[in-house]
Amino acid sequence: MKLHEYQAKSVFADAGIPTPDSQLAESTEEVLSAAESIGYPVAVKAQVHVGGRGKAGGIKLVENDEEAREAADAILGMDLKGYTVGRVLVEGAVDFVDELYVGVTMDRGEGKPVAMVSEKGGVDIESVAEEDPEAIAREYIDPAFGLQPYQARRAVYDAGIDREVAGDVSSVLTTLFSLWDDRDASDTEINPLMVTSSGEVVAADAVMNIDEDALFRQPELAEMEEDSYEDDLERKAGEYGFDYVRLDGDVGIIGNGAGLVMTTLDLVDHYGGEPANFLDVGGGAKADRIANALDMVFSDENVESVVFNIFGGITRGDEVAKGINNALEQFDEIPKPVVVRLAGTNAEEGMEILNADLVQVEQTLEEAVQRAVENAQEASQ
């Protein structure tokens, strides 16, 4: 779960990290009144979960009412990489002499958190990591001990941060780690951490992503979760509790188990088709859930053909068959052709239950995918 900049900043500020004055605004009027109370110059920043907002025109620095109005009109309501901007953060501009990077994330390969500091803040840190890896000082953190004071200092000095601000930066890093640790974050990051001409550090941006699996013990953060789905289908999948990812193709895919569904997508591609989605019904799905999955896929207007691939383990073929029947029997005409392949637990019982008038049955994964791809190709001709 991603926090918005304004949410992350409030968490950071509560923990004692210096942040600029700021107010959230949803209209041009609110932007103007916020700018007035903060005092020009201010930055107007789109609050959407998109990287590279600045380059995409989602952040503007304004000096007066006229510019603020212009920026607010331009940003509020704009489409930023698929997300519509509904809110902006109006924030006092910082008079900076230097832009740093500090962050904490989970290093999956090491299986432990890593703290990072760089003098090259203000730009995409992943490009810095690729082009100039030495410019990022890294400290791997023992998960049992946590970030030790000497490690915070070492990261800061190894990154070449000026001795005048080293103490402040290392204390910001320590706080970032505490937040990461206490709040079950997957990432906490400040880029840029600005150094002002008077030698203070200020968090000019704030990133905080929370481990979804830990939200149960982070009720305050869970409350901050906002509807941030790209479209109605992903929202619907969230409501149904499916692992769902929408793609660009026309072959709708339903299956059980992440690896098998990914494989089904890959096979659609392999046989010349284009997957419309990833949809995992999970383990042990009952008839209702299966019907919901079909409803999901039919709701995607791009879908021309559906392939249902279930390898039963905990999931039982008879339940799958019932769900498919239920979902399809309500239609006078089946909206799109559905290819079904059932294997594993109770697959034979499922085959018997399945209403063969409503679906096309195939015995193997390869055959089922090929048939679904053909169906899609026929539909688009």
């Binding site: 049992a144 098998l260 990914m262």
Partner: protein
């Protein structure tokens, strides 16, 4: 022969009194697994599926000589259950639970480096030595005994590949589902190394997927340390960057690490044929044997 489990394995089920725990205990016992105890705090003295329940894993180890555990404990308590199994002189712990917070697993990972117990999972279907024992939730009937080792990050994909193998008469020594989480106990390298040392395993199938660099490390290990031939499969070729494909670990990061391409290239460089379809994987295994 086999790796990690056989018919001598004495299993304690953590969370045996829960719905899933009870159901799969019965399934495991039906398959022939030697389940000797359950462990659930506060439930000591009860019986489930004819098996005595203890309050702690240590008691089950003391009283019933358990040497492996299977963990069906809800995510909020699962890391503690894993810690308990790692501190109870077991040879093996298998964590089925999905959705354990990653920071909990980082701590488990640290403790793992300090003990001799193998951990398989979490978020995995478990493992099976066909005809001897299964620890987990895999459907026993699709497996058959033979000389092919299998290690996979995915559950149902494992079943699919096993199906393709079994249909051709290619049985398995042991099949291990290592789980789809970012931080797991037994890695590809760990499992491959065990298969390499198992004289009955004549070929290994390794089913990877996008995310992380385990497959790349496995490729390096195969090139440097393995005589036993390996066939590979990588799921997620068509996955877009930045989107999590079901498994918490199955994600190509924005910076382009964890792609299927990188993994397939690494495996090919290590001499491992990577099939485009599960059927092609079975073809490769037939050729390698």
């Amino acid at each position: 022969m086999s790796i990690l489990v056989d018919d001598d394995t004495r299993v304690v089920v953590q969370g045996i009194t829960g719905g899933e725990g009870k159901f799969h205990t019965e399934q495991m016992m039906e398959y022939g697994t030697n389940v000797v105890a359950g462990a659930v705090p506060g439930r000591g003295g009860q019986e489930v599926a004819g098996v005595p329940v203890y309050d702690t894993v240590s008691q089950a180890v003391r009283e019933e000589d358990a040497d492996a555990s299977v963990i069906f404990v809800p995510p909020a308590f699962a890391a503690d259950a894993i810690f308990e199994s790692l501190d109870s002189d077991l040879d093996l712990a298998v964590a089925i639970t999905e959705g354990i917070p990653t920071q909990d697993m980082a701590k488990v990972n640290k403790r793992l480096s300090e003990v001799d117990t193998h951990l398989v999972g979490p978020n995995c279907p478990g493992l099976i030595t066909p005809g001897e024992a299964k620890l987990g939730i895999l459907p026993g009937n699709i497996f058959s005994s033979g000389n092919v080792g299998l290690v996979s990050r995915s559950g149902t994909l494992t079943y699919q590949v096993v199906d393709n193998l079994t249909n051709r008469g290619l049985g398995q020594t042991t099949a291990v589902g290592i789980g789809g989480d970012p931080i797991i106990g037994t890695s590809f390298v760990d499992a491959l190394s065990l298969f390499e040392d198992d004289p009955e395993t004549d070929a290994v199938v390794m089913c990877g997927e996008i995310g992380g660099e385990d497959e790349e490390q496995a490729a390096q290990f195969i090139a440097e340390n393995m005589d036993t031939p390996v066939a590979g499969f990588i799921a997620g070729r068509t996955a877009p960057p930045g989107k999590r494909m079901g498994h918490a670990g199955a994600i190509v990061s924005g910076s382009g690490t964890g792609t299927a391409e990188s993994k397939i290239d690494a495996l090919n460089d290590a001499g491992v044929p990577v099939g485009d379809t599960p059927e092609e994987v079975a073809d490769s295994v037939e050729e390698l044997l």
